[in-house]
């Protein structure tokens, strides 16, 4: 059993990576649940990639990457809202346009800097092994804010997921709470990119919550499953990376994707058996 524990107890960087990963898993579980329920996977993906130029600019100008990511997210959300409101184009067209535009801008900024190759890998794939105490504290604070936001806004978020018009009629402004939800998702991406990188954070956002959606009967249950799957992915991904010298962020995302497909297959087999049983009873 030692092989499952020792890497974390004997290496501070592994323990810090695990703690940071668990905080990220909680934040991603909460935000990811609403990404799935509201069908916002595309904007989630676009946000995760659209923050790239902000981070690149931050590194170039020497201010914290997290601030740059926040700027990128605000620009992205503002742009999508503007295009959706001021034109006949649907939101997914606006999201797609800004998605590729921001990604291209990020690459252009990076290509202008010669000393950037290390930073680019860091941005795209994260550097969970280099996480320090200040980063963990920021992630803890962000996770708390995200959790409290979801708790306070549970009713309007549920109504929005059920029927945005009903949320509006019930006295909860669908625009306001949609934007709060978006900023919650953006905040999750911003604080998570250091752990698994902008390319992979989207996986941690939707795969555990997606597996949770297949199993849960209530939204709270879905979040609990998503947290458990996310934390398990971080733990297993770190171990795999430690023993087999694999890229950590990618290992975590691979594990979480595998977990999703295992749950998916089990659920399908179970429902087929149940259907067969019901059919036999009927005959």
């Amino acid at each position: 059993m030692d092989i499952f524990i020792t890497p974390f107890t004997s290496n501070t960087f592994m323990m810090q990576a695990l703690i940071a990963g668990i905080f990220v898993s909680i934040a991603c579980a909460v935000a990811g649940t609403f990404v799935i329920l509201r069908g916002m996977a595309f904007i989630g993906d676009a946000l995760a990639h659209g923050v790239l130029p902000g981070i690149a600019l931050a590194y170039l100008l020497g201010f914290p990457g997290i601030l740059g990511a926040a700027l990128g997210a605000v620009f992205m959300i503002g742009g999508v809202t503007l295009i959706t409101q001021r034109s006949r184009l649907s939101s997914d067209t606006a999201i797609g346009l800004l998605f590729v535009g921001m990604l291209a801008l990020g690459v252009v900024i990076i290509s202008r800097s010669n000393s950037f190759s290390g930073d680019l890998t860091k941005i795209l794939f994260g550097e969970i092994m280099g996480i320090g105490i200040p980063d963990i504290l920021i992630q803890l604070a962000a996770t708390l804010v995200i959790g409290v936001t979801a708790f306070i806004c549970a009713r309007p978020f549920l109504l929005l997921s059920f029927d945005p018009e009903q949320a509006q009629v019930a006295g909860f402004s669908s625009k306001l709470y949609h934007n709060i939800m978006l900023f919650m998702i953006a905040a999750t991406i911003i604080v998570s990119f250091q752990t698994v990188g902008t390319l992979l954070v989207f996986g941690l956002l939707i795969a555990p919550a997606g597996a949770g959606a297949l199993l849960a009967r209530r939204i709270r249950g879905m979040m609990a499953w998503a947290t458990a799957f996310g934390a398990l992915s971080v733990y297993a991904g770190l171990l795999l990376s430690y023993y087999f010298d694999l890229a950590t962020g990618a290992s975590i995302i691979l594990v979480t994707t595998v977990i999703f497909f295992i749950v998916f297959i089990i659920q399908n087999v179970r429902s087929r058996r149940l259907n067969a049983f019901a059919g036999a009873q009927h005959e």
Partner: protein, 291 residues
């Protein structure tokens, strides 16, 4: 035929009754529609508290647009509309709304009872806690719609008709002063329709008002004191026995009622308003980004 046939608001009896009863909703010269497209112009009505009004017409006739305007989802394009003496959407606690489309069904991990509990949210706001009275209202509403035994079943396991019963239970659980419903009996079987009619009757006896959009003339004629026939304009408005006649129905639906026929027979006649405008149909598709 092109003029609106008014029978209620113009009559002295209706005016007198409206002045005695408190007014739930009132429209004067109202135009409803979307920013670049007026759907129905010149709507006038007074709905006293404790009465029901049916909006009847074909697809695309403006029923849903008027309903959405009355709950504040769409802004009136012209004229006046007040609900409980304020602008539409200004008294969320007093209005229960049942739309036609829900994202719910197959995605949300919800038990059926959770859907009914949503009906109590407007009374408690963001963080107000639910109490025993709320639970009683929720269970009473499910009993009324005959679905209490299915309360803990995941919503996605229920048939369309069973889900519709829970959506109606949600409306009942609110104990609202105004119920606004868009085709509430769609998907219901005969038993469900009877329960619905009984429940609405009880709501009216409790003093609630109802605005309901429907295709079913006979069902709502037994329930509603007022009927508005719509065909992208107000064809007729007034009590059912005055409004529902061959002339107005022909104008609204292109139907005639022959001798010995219990149900109206639909004429094979093309209506320019039977096809929804592209814009309107597009808006009904799932859209998560509010405009």
């Amino acid at each position: 035929m092109n003029d609106t046939i008014r029978t209620s608001t113009d009559s002295p009896v209706a005016s007198a009754s409206a002045s005695v009863l408190s007014i739930c909703a009132q429209a004067k010269g109202l135009t409803v529609g979307y920013p670049n497209e007026a759907i129905v112009k010149g709507i006038d009505f007074v709905l006293p508290q404790g009465q029901a009004m049916a909006l009847i017409g074909t697809n695309g006739s403006g029923k849903t647009t008027l309903l959405k305007t009355s709950v504040g989802l769409l802004k009136p394009l012209d004229g006046e509309l007040s609900v409980f003496g304020t602008h539409p959407g200004g008294s969320a606690r007093r209005i229960a709304y049942l739309g036609q489309f829900h994202n719910a069904g197959f995605i949300l991990p919800l038990r059926a009872v959770d859907v009914v509990r949503m009906g109590r949210f407007p009374l408690h706001g963001l963080v107000g806690s639910m109490n025993e009275e709320d639970n009683e209202m929720v269970h009473s509403a499910m009993r009324t719609m005959g679905v209490e035994k299915l309360a803990n079943t995941p919503l996605r396991f229920l048939s369309g008709g069973q889900q519709q019963r829970f959506y109606l239970a949600q409306v009942l659980a609110h104990q609202a002063d105004l119920l606004v419903m868009d085709e509430p009996t769609s998907g219901l079987d005969a038993g469900g329709r009877n329960l619905y009619l009984q429940a609405m009757n009880d709501e009216l006896c409790r003093g609630a008002s109802i605005i309901v959009a429907t295709h079913d003339i006979q069902e709502e004629a037994t329930l509603c004191q007022q009927v508005m026939l719509l065909a992208r304009r107000v064809v007729a408005f007034g009590p059912p026995h005055q409004v529902l006649n061959s002339e107005t129905l022909l104008e609204t639906f292109g139907i005639i009622i022959g001798k010995g026929q219990k149900r109206p027979a639909v004429l094979e006649r093309e209506h320019h308003h039977e096809t929804e405008p592209l814009d309107q149909a597009k808006r009904k598709t799932r859209r998560f980004w509010p405009r």
